[in-house]
Structures are given as structure tokens and as C-alpha cells.
Amino acid sequence: MKKEMALITENFLRYGPPDTAGYLEIGGFTGLEKALAGSPEELVRTIEASGLRGRGGAAYPTGKKMRQSAAYEGDTKYLICNADEGEPGTFKDRELLEKDPLGVLEGMVIAAHGVGATQGILYLREEYSHLLGLLEDSLAAMRQDGYLGRGILGGPLDFDITVFVGAGAYICGEGTSLIESIEGKPGRPRNKPPYTKAQGLFMKPTLVSNVETFSGITAIVRHGAEVFTGYGTPMSPGTKLISLCGNVNRPGTYEVPFGTTLEEIVMGIGEGVAGGRALKFVQIGGISGPLLPKEFLKMPLSYEAFEKEGLSIGSGAVLVVDETTDILDFLDAVAAFFKHESCGKCTPCREGNRQIMNILKRMREGVALPSDPENIQRIANTMKYASFCGLGKTAPTALLSAVRYCPEEIFTRRGL
């Protein structure tokens, strides 16, 4: 029942980055060659046909985004690879950067051709600064071999990439905060419009995509859209990288076709809960994702299955939590994280996280007020609907899912 795959991860351990010669031998840069042999329009059509959706969490169709971005004219257009990966429980982008940096960077050059980008920036989270040397060496090797710089592969494309290292802030994974951060400011989200694709970095047209999205582009162009759509479900074509972690026997990064069930991931690939203990819940998509009790193990990992439940698969993290964890302690850790990471720009998020922590504290100490269950849900819903950006909107997701799926764990057992 193991369903591990190697499409986006096909280059892992098959060459030693930054060795471009080794990468070439296993088919590296053939995607770029194919892309450059065709028009930008053909490339965008290939990505549209693949059904690839952004892997940074919002799942916006990548082909559509490229088409919109391509429509903006100007002598400077930025293409940013979002390697901020701040979502606790998520480390798949780190694996891609570590084990296949050339595949990620190739995807950026391919995308640059599609949208007419002139300058690339890889925004690397500070916590991954140990990867900076490898990335710089990979870029130097690509420049040396003519895959970056002026007139790439003898054609008209001029494009180069630099690395910007962040300074530690979860919010900088949000596209406009990331841009503020590159500009040397605190990473607070911008008002929209103007949209990034029209006026992003230094007010120039900018496309921001996730690391895994660029790796996906490389694989799709190399093998053809139909190879990608041959996996997964009709509504969720292709494969997804999973960051499997927590109380599980085999934590790690795995690639699975969409449609794989949570059970196949946790019990099959992950070889079950560590120490033979019972499963309490899984959290999907990182700390901003829902808690799903074991009844959900039959659920397939696909956009449509999650959307039907009003949920999202987010970054594709699967955190396994066993019976020894108290849900209230867990929810407290979630709220503490968001309180720490809130940028303070809007009231629902700045105040909401604080108030949720206060109520959780009373509940954990067994001194909750009769009004607390209602209040905590009211605050959570206010955050969900009235926060300015995705951080505040998703901060109460874990709490609201726990209220919905296991109210007895948080209310009844505490006498509320």
C-alpha cells in the first residue's frame, strides 16, 4: 500500500548538487531547452494543461497566474521564489532546495521565459541560511554553463537570480510581506490593490511562487503535461510533497499522488504511530491547518475532498499526534505561535490571539467561565472573517476544527 512516487523528487540523490554535469546526465535542463524552443504562450499553455496549482498554500492555478503575469509589460519584471517555508510542520521546500536546487532554479528560468521576467530572487528564510552556500554555488555553476545571465542558451532570454536571506518572521511568507522585507522594511502585508502582479517589488510587476511550484514546472515541461495529469485525481492532477512528522515511525518528506488517503500516508508510508500508541488526531497543512480525528483517516488528500469539508490542504504537512497530547495544550501552542508571529497591523489578529490564550489558560486550569466556550468561538470567528491577512484568518483554524470535531475533548470533559 506504499504510494511513494518520484516525479517532482525524481532527481533526489541522483546527482550531487551543485554539479551541473551530473544534473545534465540525468536529464537536467532538458525542460529548459524544450521551453526555450517554444514560445512563452506555448509554455503557459502547457502549465495550464497540467492543472498545476500553487504549492504555497493558496492553491491558485499556476498557469492562470503566469498568463496574468505575462500580460504586464515593462522593462523590469521580477520573479520571486518563495522559500520562506515558515509553517511549522513543513519542511518539503527545504528538501527540494537541499537535494535538487538545480531543479528548483531551472523551474525559475523556465517560468521567466513564460512571463517575461528579467530578474529572479529566491527569498530564503533565515532559518535555512545553512543552504545559502549550496544555492550560491548552484547559481554560479548555472551562470558558468550559460543557463543564467545574458542570452541564455544562445537565445534572447536575459535572466539572472540572486538570493535574499530573510531575518526570521513567519508573516514574510505572505507575498506582499515578503516584498516589503526585500525592500528592507518590516514584513507587514500591503493593502491590495495594487496587486503584486502589477506592482510588486519596487512597484514593478512581480510574480511570487512557491519552491515546490517551480520544481513542478520543471518536471511538467520536461515530461509533458500529460505525464503529470496521469497521476492524481481529475480535479487534483499530479503529485504533492508531504512533510510527515510528529509521533510517527517514519517522519520525512514523501511525494504521493493526489487521492492518496491520510491512512495510506500515516499508516503505510509513515509506518504508523510511534511506540504503538493510539492516534489522537492529525493536523493537515501546518499550524494554520485543521485537526482531524482518526475518523478522517479514510479521507483522500485532494483539493476537492478537503474543499467539500470546508478545509484546505495548505502546504501539505501531515502532523501525527498520539493520545499522550492534551488537545488544550496543543491549541495553546498554536495560539502562542500566532501571538508571537502576528505583525500587529490589525486588531482581530493582534488582540484575538491574546484573548484566545487567556481563555485556553482558564480552561486548562479548570477555572473556565460559563461564557468562555461561546466567547472563544466568537473571537475565533471574528479573526477568521475580519483579519487583514491570511495569518489572522487561519490562526483559529485548529481551534475551530477541534470545536467542530471533538467538542467533548475541550468542553465536556472540563465540565463546560
Binding site: T90, A167, G168, G184, F337, C343
Partner: protein
């Protein structure tokens, strides 16, 4: 700030440039050269006046980002992740091992200024949780023996 540090800071700005987008790289570099891994107020002021940015804007950036510290730390900063994955895999046990090995509590620094201990949000090492970070290197799945070996390598 002594003359040596002053010159060091000016040299960093010289090499990074004075554009606004150089501010974060400059602050990283000036913190790195400080033996206590922090950015004293007078250094922020010097960065502000040399780069032509207002002091309040520099402070705002220093206080916004977790990498920057306004308080003295130590030559080696040890961060213990206390986000969800490390919590459910019992990060407190690692914290206790570290506290015992160094004779300090989380939030403190050793007297010789070699190590300090702090909690940190997730740094993307959840596959080896509970994880710690010493400066920019990550370690996970630790036991007492392994930990002692690692600490020794930073003591030199």
C-alpha cells in the same frame, strides 16, 4: 562602542551599500561581528546615520525580525524549538538536558559568554523533532551523550 567596532560597522555598510534594501543584510552582518550576538542601541544609531535612514525605522526593523536581538546574548545562540511538532515529541526533555549540561535556564547565558539558551518558533527541522539550532546549524533526535559532544565542539 569601541573604535574597532565602529570601524567594523562602517566597513560593513561600505561593502553592502546604503540603499534601503541593504538594511537587513547590514544588520545581519553587524550582529554577527558582535561577540554577544546582538545589536546595541548605539550600533543601530550609527547604522541609521550612516545609511541615511531614520533611527526609528532602523529600530522597527531590528525589533520586527526574530533574528535580531536588542539584548546581549552569547557567542553561540542555542535555540530550542517550541512549536507544535517539537512539543508533541517532548521538546522539554531536550530543554532539560541542555539546562543541566550548561547549568543555566532557558532565557539565560553561561557566565563565560559561550552559550545562551532560548526558545524559538519552528525552524523547519520537524522531521528530526525535537530539534535545536546552534547559530545556523540544526541538530535533532538528541540524547545526552550526543548533545555533550556537540556542545564540546563549540567550546574550543
Amino acid at each position: 562602542m569601541d573604535e574597532l567596532m565602529r570601524r567594523e560597522v562602517l566597513k560593513i555598510i561600505e561593502s553592502q551599500g546604503k540603499a534601503r534594501e541593504a538594511l537587513i543584510p547590514v544588520l545581519k552582518a553587524v550582529q554577527r561581528v558582535n561577540p554577544k550576538q546582538y545589536i546595541p542601541q548605539e550600533v543601530s544609531q550609527l547604522v541609521a546615520s550612516t545609511m541615511g535612514i531614520s533611527e526609528s525605522e532602523v529600530y522597527e526593523v531590528v525589533s520586527f525580525y526574530a533574528e535580531f536581538s536588542e539584548k546581549p546574548r552569547a557567542r553561540n545562540v542555542i535555540r530550542i524549538c517550541d512549536s507544535t511538532v517539537c512539543r508533541v515529541t517532548h521538546h522539554r526533555k531536550t530543554a532539560e538536558l541542555l539546562e543541566a549540561a550548561l547549568g543555566i535556564r532557558v532565557g539565560e547565558a553561561t557566565e563565560d559568554g559561550v552559550f545562551c539558551l532560548e526558545y524559538s518558533p519552528c525552524f523547519g527541522a520537524c522531521d528530526v523533532a525535537p530539534a535545536i539550532r546552534i547559530n545556523d546549524r540544526v541538530y535533532g533526535n538528541l540524547d545526552g551523550e550526543k548533545l555533550e559532544e556537540i556542545l564540546q565542539s563549540y567550546r574550543r
